[in-house]
């Protein structure tokens, strides 16, 4: 499994909002533990799909200079579950953005149905965790994200940290 929980951006307004999609498929091994005989996408991975959509939006707004990390889930509410064959639309919007942090709101839909509402806070860790040392390179934005951005026709820096 690769740690990428969005497939493509279908809308991207830098500094403001974005919409990404995620296909849920039987081919995803982890679904078969959750649950055996009735696979559904785990709620925590829906949160991660929002974190990646919103995180890229926040990163892009500041030219990916910062290491943008999920610091707080202000609120995540789920109204239904989703199954293989479903396509999720992840809508994210930047509410506030500052050198040290950003806050976003958003919702996940499937067809006409709202599946979840998720509000997050990101920390720009070089500016924040006083005393902690991090590697220089921006390891947060990997080559996987570059693939998603380029496939969506959005310019991406030449990432990432070589494996």
């Amino acid at each position: 499994m690769r740690w990428i929980w969005i497939d493509k951006f279908i809308e991207f307004n830098s500094g403001s909002n974005a919409v990404a999609i995620k296909n849920v498929t039987m081919a995803e091994e982890h679904l078969h533990d959750n649950f055996p005989g009735f696979p559904i996408m785990p709620e925590c991975l829906m949160i991660e799909s929002m974190a990646q959509t919103a995180g890229i939006l926040v990163g892009h707004a500041r030219d990916f200079k910062e290491k943008v990390i999920l610091a707080k889930i202000s609120k995540a509410v789920f109204f239904n579950f989703v199954r293989p064959g479903d396509t999720l639309k992840i809508h994210a919007k930047i509410e506030s953005i500052a050198p040290e942090a950003a806050s976003t709101t958003g919702k996940i839909t499937c067809g006409d149905e709202i599946i979840a509402e998720i509000d997050l806070m990101f920390s720009h860790i070089d500016q924040n965790l006083a005393g902690k040392q991090f590697p220089q390179e921006n390891f947060v934005f990997t080559d996987l994200f570059a693939v998603v951005l380029r496939a969506s026709g959005i310019e991406a820096p030449a990432w990432g940290v070589s494996k």
Partner: protein, 130 residues
């Protein structure tokens, strides 16, 4: 947009309930953000963002929480306590705060206690009714 102190308090209360997940009745005027309401570094940023939206004002983080840059300055700190200069500097940066109890034991570890709900309300009052 002039607001009464009561209106400001209600709004600040709402912000703290949302940002910290505490109940309405826990947000009393002398409740400390860190000690009583459990606020941490990321929460302070959350509070700043929400207050900016709620009151339509811009709040540079340094203005609301100026202690951070102060404590790294050797002129202001000695043996884990603020020097006389340090206290005066902090007073200047936080005119909305009550220092009466703090001066008795100006330990760095106690700076957090200065951030009370009341101090936040004073700060907003100063900003919007200026």
């Amino acid at each position: 947009m002039a607001m009464t102190r009561d209106e400001i308090f209600k709004e600040v209360q709402g912000v703290l309930v949302d940002a910290l997940g505490v109940d309405d009745d826990e947000v009393t005027p002398d409740a400390t953000l860190m000690g009583d309401l459990g606020a941490e570094s990321i929460d302070f940023l959350d509070i700043v963002f929400r207050m900016e939206k709620a009151f339509g004002i811009k709040i540079p983080r340094e203005e609301l929480f100026p202690a951070e840059s102060l404590v790294s300055n050797k002129e202001f700190i000695s043996n884990g306590k603020l020097t006389h200069q340090g206290i005066e500097e902090l007073r200047k940066r936080m005119p909305h705060t009550d220092f009466t109890e703090f001066v008795d034991d100006p330990a760095v570890s106690k700076i957090g206690d200065l951030f009370t709900v009341d101090a936040l309300v004073n700060f907003v009052e100063g900003k919007i009714n200026a």
